[in-house]
Amino acid sequence: MSKETKEREPLFSPKNIKLITGPINLSNPITVQVLGICSALAVTAKLMPAIVMAISVMVVVAASNVLISFLRNGIPPRIRIIVQLVVIATMVILVDQVLKAFVYDVSKQLSVFVGLIITNCIIMGRLEAFAMSNKPWPAFLDGIGNSLGYGLILVVIAFVRELFGSGSLFGFPVIPQGLYDFGYVNNGLMILPPMALITVGVIIWIQRYYTRELIEDK
């Protein structure tokens, strides 16, 4: 039998590596696919919640991708969205409980947004587009890759916003007191969501400037 002698694909074959690196730049969920914008605006005023959010999303996407991938042949197409939602909801509740148990303060800051991970378009999108038609291991890598791309943007936005909006990083003041004495004032607009949107815009601007593949034909 020729099929059985076929070599098994190595775990980190170039194709699989691409599943991780692709979403970080070329098909970044936020800046290219423009998914998950709402949470990118909502939780990025400070670095800490942004990082916790990124990790939570990573756990949820990766775990639900794997689960759905295992189930993919048993799910009747007509009710697949419901099944996906059940899986995501379960994961989100788990993450929420863990956060409440171990990092209660951050969990309080994130408030409803942990629960709202369930509505994060990235997760549904990955389940529909990838996990439903791929094996568990690639699905896992895809989940990790996409949440890395998502988390990267989140951290960059949060870094800019916390630095200029509150003059601190991770809650520690980094802008020297001397500057404040000199008349420097924190930028209040940075705390407000519109500035997060503009920061996303600037990131997209820079990314397209350096990534020729992303520039559309005129």
């Binding site: 008349g183 420097y184 004032v185 930028n187 209040g188 607009l189 815009g201 601007w205």
Partner: protein
């Protein structure tokens, strides 16, 4: 004059393609066209020759701003010395304000024009006069004591995100000068709102609240007289206090046809109607304020004359202008009376309606098409 021309001609090759200073081409170009009328003419296709171009439009607006600007300079000095309880002669007061304002104007133009030149160079455009008016408007709608670095950041923000990302002059959706002010207002509220900032270096004991600030906290006994508010002897942003000077500017704009009277008039009508409606309702003191107070206090008149009429961001259709202006006036008064966080509603009202202007135009055009189709059907039947 001739010598200057010759000098420029001699320098020109250096700045053209392949020249030594090619990178500074835009800067040279803008400097040259500032001094001389450019010799470029349209050469293909049908076109109308007219004396009006962007440069002339901008300079007319500039001239119309001058009465309000000069008065604003004097008023900055007047308010300052009034708060100290002194009354020096006219020129002392004027020059006090003049030297307060000059750095703001220089910073605004420096940052704004610098960014314009950079963008023009990158895009291979010519530098145009787009920032000319915005650069004078911005110093006129901020308090005289605003820190210069904040002005610089706000101007940079306004030029880049209010204008250049959309494609430059004529492509912007919202008024860049108002974007700069909105940026200051939300980013550094401590320096552009409250009752401490409107009089430069005021004595502590003196109340520096603007009429709007007073009205917002229900302090109606401290309202200045109608005459003072109309003439502009009140604290406020530099250029907006004197309704009289703004009206002089408005007359210049209307006679030359630079600004559209439809927008201007309908803003005032909108404000009046809303004021009268509130008078009818009369649930609190602010609502009972006579409607004409709304037209002369704060930035209402300034916004109506110089900001709402901006031909790029206002509605383009004649009918649309009525709706646009009317809504600007209404919303401005609405925000003033109802929103406790924002004493002045004019800025937000104009920005909001800027965004809606294309939509208004769209529906005006659509309804016109529908009307004509109906007429066509009636004829063909």
């Amino acid at each position: 004059m001739k010598a200057l021309r010759n000098f420029l001609d001699k320098q020109k090759p250096q700045f053209e393609k392949g020249g030594k200073l090619e990178k500074l081409h835009s800067m040279f170009d803008s400097f040259e066209t500032l001094l001389f009328v450019p010799d470029k003419v349209t050469f293909a296709g049908a076109h109308i020759r007219d004396a009006i171009d962007m440069k002339r439009t901008m300079i007319t607006v500039f001239v119309s701003l001058i009465p309000a600007l000069l008065f604003g300079m004097w008023n900055v000095g007047y308010q300052h010395f009034l708060s100290l309880g002194q009354s020096p002669d006219f020129w002392t007061m004027f020059f006090y304000g003049f030297f307060k304002l000059l750095p703001i104007i220089i910073v605004t133009y420096g940052v704004g024009l610098g960014l314009e030149i950079v963008f023009a160079q990158i895009r291979n455009h010519e530098v145009n006069e787009g920032f000319f008016v915005s650069g004078l408007l911005i110093p006129m709608i901020v308090p005289a004591d605003i820190p210069l670095w904040q002005v610089a950041i706000a101007v940079a923000f306004a030029v880049v995100f209010g204008k250049e990302v959309f494609g430059g002059t004529g492509m912007n959706i919202v008024n860049p000068a108002l974007v700069a002010r909105a940026f200051l207002f939300f980013a550094y509220p401590g320096n552009i709102s409250g009752d401490k900032v409107w009089i430069s270096d005021k004595a502590d004991a003196f109340s520096g609240a603007t009429p709007l600030g007073n009205a917002l906290v229900g302090n109606f006994d401290n309202m200045p007289s109608v005459y003072d508010m109309f003439m502009g002897f009140i604290p406020g942003s530099v250029g907006e206090t004197s309704t009289l000077m703004i009206l002089i500017g408005a007359i210049i704009l209307l006679i030359t046809g630079i600004a559209n009277w439809r927008v201007m008039v309908s803003v005032f009508v909108g404000g009046t109607v809303m004021g009268l409606l509130f008078n009818l309702w009369g649930a609190n003191d602010y609502m009972n304020l006579p409607f004409y107070y709304h037209l002369i206090m704060g930035g209402f008149a300034f916004g109506a004359v110089f900001m709402a009429t901006d031909p790029v961001t206002a509605a383009q259709t004649s009918k649309g202008m009525y709706y646009y202006g009317f809504l600007v006036g209404m919303i401005a008064v609405l925000i003033r009376v109802f929103n406790p966080a924002y004493p002045e509603g004019m800025m937000l009202a104009i920005l909001l309606m800027n965004v809606f202007a294309p939509l208004i135009d769209h529906y005006v055009v659509e309804s016109n098409i529908k009307k004509r189709l109906k007429r066509l059907k009636a004829v063909s039947n």
